[in-house]
């Protein structure tokens, strides 16, 4: 506090900065959100630890790319398509592991640091503040995608890559990371303590990625259906020169029942799994023999095959092979073509979840506050 005189002695003088107390324009809102993003990226994200993390991600992606290309070389393929699907899956994995930590303390971390209230009393609106924090967390998550881009380029050069697959996979990954950023930022405004909001965000991610698998597996096992197997053996009396049976005598059919999991009733549970969404959304790539050509298509075919209802009756008649009713064995390509795509349902569920979290966050952040969460201090 030196003796310098204030540059603007009159509080209502003309040197006052321009600010329209009237209705804020769209341009004004965009500027505000931009300022919050700028602030967040400078304060929260850009740190040495962050760059180290990105470096580690780059090393992992480089190693995987090299290994996959070497494998493809050994087996005589181009390998670019496998690289793309594995690299994008890895980015989704890393992104879902890091984004909760980046976004889950965006609001309550500021409250703990005593910087939330001083931001709220500026002219920034509640939604502008929340959206700025969301966009900053999303941008930070997308840095992993940026790190992955050289390896995707290597894959393109290696050949065998369908540009449609790359673009679809990237688009879905970008959206999924945005959903996690939205969930994290929203929960950080609703839950008072940063540690709990970060953990809750991780739990949401885990529920979608692993929880859907567990629920699917358990539900399939919990409600099995009875499968009846009929086996008709025969007794032979003699063989001819070639060793074929002559005059077989059919024995009594043996009927047995067993319990079989009913995955065809619960396959939809997997629709909300982000990895399934990613695989299901990308265009299929088939080998001439009808086998999947990349990991996305393999996952898609595997998940889609669960939709097919398994027969409840199996007949194995060794006596009269024409009575045999073995389970149909369509190719994976046929399975995918016969079954229902689910990715848009899963993606819609995720987007709604993210939007709801942001909405709840905006409600919790509203000022002047009428209700306070227990134990929360608004400054």
């Amino acid at each position: 506090m030196t003796g310098t005189v204030l540059q603007d002695p009159a509080p209502n003088g003309s040197a006052r900065p321009e600010r329209g107390p009237g209705g804020p324009s769209v341009k004004d809102s965009v500027l505000m959100v931009g300022t919050v993003v700028d602030l967040e990226l400078r304060q929260r994200v850009r740190s040495v630890a962050w760059y180290v993390l990105l470096g580690v991600a780059a090393l992992v992606l480089a190693a995987v790319t090299l290994l996959l290309l070497a494998t493809a070389g050994a087996f005589g393929g181009e390998g670019g398509d496998q690289v793309v699907s594995v690299v994008v899956y890895l980015v989704l994995l890393l992104g879902t592991l890091v984004t909760p930590a980046l976004s889950g303390a965006a609001v309550n971390g500021d409250r703990d640091a005593g910087t939330l209230a001083t931001t709220q009393i500026t002219l920034v609106g509640t939604w502008q503040l929340l959206l700025g924090k969301f966009l900053a967390a999303w941008t930070a998550a997308l840095a992993f995608l940026a790190v992955a881009s050289p390896f995707l380029l290597i894959a393109l050069v290696a050949g065998g890559v369908d540009l449609g697959v790359v673009l679809t996979a990237l688009a879905v990954t970008v959206l999924e990371l945005g959903v996690i950023a939205a969930v994290g930022v929203g929960l950080s405004a609703v839950i008072p303590r940063p540690i709990f909001s970060v953990v809750t965000t991780y739990l949401v991610v885990a529920a979608l990625s692993v929880g859907t698998l567990i629920a699917f597996g358990l539900a399939g096992l919990a409600f099995p259906r009875t499968v009846t197997s009929t086996y008709t053996p025969y007794s032979q009396s003699s063989y001819d020169d070639q060793g074929n049976v002559v005059n077989p005598v059919c024995d009594a059919p043996q009927v047995s029942t067993s319990q079989s999991p009913t995955y065809d009733r619960v396959w939809w549970m997997l629709a909300a799994n982000p990895y399934v969404v990613l695989a299901d959304a990308t265009p299929s790539r088939w080998s001439p023999e009808g086998y999947p050509d990349d990991s996305f298509t393999s996952v898609k075919a595997g998940v889609r095959s669960l939709q097919i209802v398994q027969p409840t009756e199996q007949v194995t008649d060794e006596c009269n092979p024409s009575n045999d009713r073995p389970a149909a064995q369509p190719s994976q390509r046929q399975i995918v073509e016969q079954t229902v795509p689910t990715w848009f349902v899963g993606l819609a569920i995720h987007l709604v979840l993210g939007a709801l979290c942001l909405l709840a966050g905006a409600r919790a952040l509203r000022t002047p506050a009428r209700r306070l969460a227990k134990g929360s201090r608004i400054a």
Binding site: E18, D38, S47, A117, T119, I121, T122
Partner: protein, 304 residues
Amino acid sequence: MDDSDGIVVTGVRRSFGRTHAVADAAFTARPGRVTALIGPNGAGKTTLMLMLATLLAPDAGTIRIAGADPVADPGAVRARMGWMPDVLGSWSSLTSRTTLELTGRLHRMSKPAAAGRAGELIDLVGLGDLADRPTRVLSRGQKQRLSLARALVHDPSVLLLDEPASGLDPEARVELRVLVRRLAAEGRTLLVSSHVLAELEEMADDAVYMQAGSTVAADRLAEVRGRTRTWRVRAVDDRALDAALAGSGATADHQGRLVPVVDEEAAADLLARLVAAGVRVTAFAPAAGEFERTFLTLAEEASR
């Protein structure tokens, strides 16, 4: 400027569950003056500040900050009000300069205007050498200066300062006092809360006392202030002083003699009498500041 430019609070109430943090607050802080907000810990000062700062909605009552209602139109209040909270938060990775620039931009200033204003404020609060280092290296007192600068970014006409002097060294306190007086002289309304009553005494024109969530009514204040006060007197020769004070009910402590007087008029008469009696007086002043005496009397009555 009329009263609508300052702070007008009537019948404000706010509870958290069963705790009545503010039960009944009513006061006016006028432009061009520094108003002290005085009260013991837990009297509701910070809750009241949060309501004035548009962060907390009152359960009942009305508030006007520079003519605007913080509940109905928080944006209008925020454009005209600066708040320095008692919690010292700063964006630890950012420099002081960036902090002030970004705060300016959040007040809808253009980038160059915000940068210019940040430079002015860094000079004003004396953060010059540290302006371009991350705020995490700042000491408590330096963060205090940054917090004050941040409250001034948009050149507000109403300033709410919650414990602005805590953590400041004596020199910085003097500088703060000079700055606060200058801000008031420029026509701003300042509301300052502090525990350091002597500090407030030197910078404030008016005082609002809070007790158990309520502001103390004007008639009760007048009554408390009208009571007999104590003056401290010292002289070169104690014996001559004691002789002249005989019969006045004076007592002694390690710093001199304490004499009860009714009001300032009576104090002036006493001094004239002592000088006339040939006592060589070296010190003659109220034993406690006005704020401190009122505060202590109110606290004493409340605990009875």
